[in-house]
Symmetry: C2
Subunit: 218 residues, 2 copies
DNA sequence: CGCAGGTTTGACTTCACTCAATCGGCGTGG
DNA sequence: CCACGCCGATTGAGTGAAGTCAAACCTGCG
């Protein structure tokens, strides 16, 4: 578990003027935001003037239906790029899940780089293509998997991303549910079920150890 | 309703050597395939050597889970590009839904064009970005909408794509179900429900008229 | 030490699924 | 031209997986 600064600012604090490496071979001047838990990076429908990269902490993107139902589009961890749009506005809002630092660069700078440098343009395409691939897998999960399968797939993916079998969950059961199309209670039950079957261990609610990858991949 | 040729070939027939306009300002040499209903354009895991564009008819992309559960990723109608991958292989299979013609161009040609021409590179990115946006909306549908809402949203989207309130459905209830994360019976019941509420009319199973857009957009 | 937040578990409900029968429209052949 | 058969769609009845509501349980923090 990472040690975070004890106190966070009430408003996002920005460090300006650094050079940000958005993705391999695409570095642009930008700044770093420091965010407290639940603090917003950008809102749905807001003008998409910046592209972001998680430095530390974790970010969720969310969309709200008119009656309050919520879908979490994705969780972004250190190194992940988010908020890149092709249209004028953001299609999801983005919030820090815990104390978080995100780097931001002007979108206009990114587009200019892509217009001039074919390598940068390719990186931009790859960014979108990889997000698309993740989302395609997630669609299959939402469309055709059971609650236990959804939670198992989610844990396996987190484990692959962190490249460890020991996962530190930054998000609540409610967040996981809103990502997997389930309620927080169903997520909790699915985790208990997996632990009962010895596929995972739950030293505590925010720590998961994957014991049996093949039992989870079914 | 379009009039299709009475008989189709048993194997896909190809016309070679035409110039294909994949997307605005990106034309490349390619050929046109003629496909019968349920005929495969490419298979999941197959090497992704071509990019395709629907000329006439309709195409579905599908992924199968080991136990036979099926998810339809998207339906592609005339003008739509599909099968563009960032990795070496196709992540879904693609099949014609009815008698269909698809244009195909070499992926290597597309990538070369993008490497040389920033405008082509941008078109490629936009292609991925728009597919990503569609998928994000679909994720919200799968994660958080009820059966009737899913069917309503699906019909509205088809209507917007065709720019008519009179929809000619090329796909079966089973296909719609596998796209919306429902069973064919639930799709049928949802349609009957919408017709009972006068939000749509069903002159027959494959024709839908949207009567009340606002009742469907809820 | 006690509170507050998130988590777990339990009891009951509900929406969509399953299984099954019937319906309907289209194409073929008598 | 009409009757039959076939396949997809519809409808019904019963089941089940996940949702809802509610209570109890941690556990980290003031």
């Amino acid at each position: 578990m990472a040690f975070e600064p004890i106190s966070e600012h009430l408003a996002p604090a920005a460090t300006v003027g650094r050079l940000i490496e958005l993705t391999l071979g695409l570095s642009l001047p930008g700044s770093v935001l420091t965010l407290s838990p639940d603090e917003e990076v950008f809102a749905e429908e807001e003008e998409a003037a910046f592209v972001y990269k998680v430095v530390s902490g974790a970010v969720r993107t969310t969309r709200l239906l008119s009656d309050g139902r919520r879908q979490i589009g994705a969780f972004y961890l250190p190194g992940d790029v988010f908020g890149l749009e092709s249209g004028p506005v953001h299609r999801f809002s983005a919030e820090a899940i815990k104390p978080t630092k995100v780097a931001m660069v002007r979108r206009s700078g990114v587009e200019r780089a892509a217009a001039q440098d074919p390598v940068a343009a390719r990186q931009l395409w790859l960014l979108a293509a990889h997000e698309l691939e993740d989302l395609q897998d997630h669609m299959v999960l939402l469309g055709r998997k059971t609650a236990v399968e959804r939670v198992a797939s989610f844990l396996v993916k987190l484990s692959q991303r962190a490249d460890t079998r020991v996962i530190d969950l930054p998000m609540s059961r409610n967040d996981i549910g809103d990502h997997l199309g389930l309620t927080l209670e169903t997520v909790s039950r699915a985790m208990s079920q997996l632990a009962r079957d010895r596929a995972i261990s739950l030293p505590n609610a925010r720590h998961v150890v994957l014991n049996n990858l093949s039992a989870l991949t079914c």
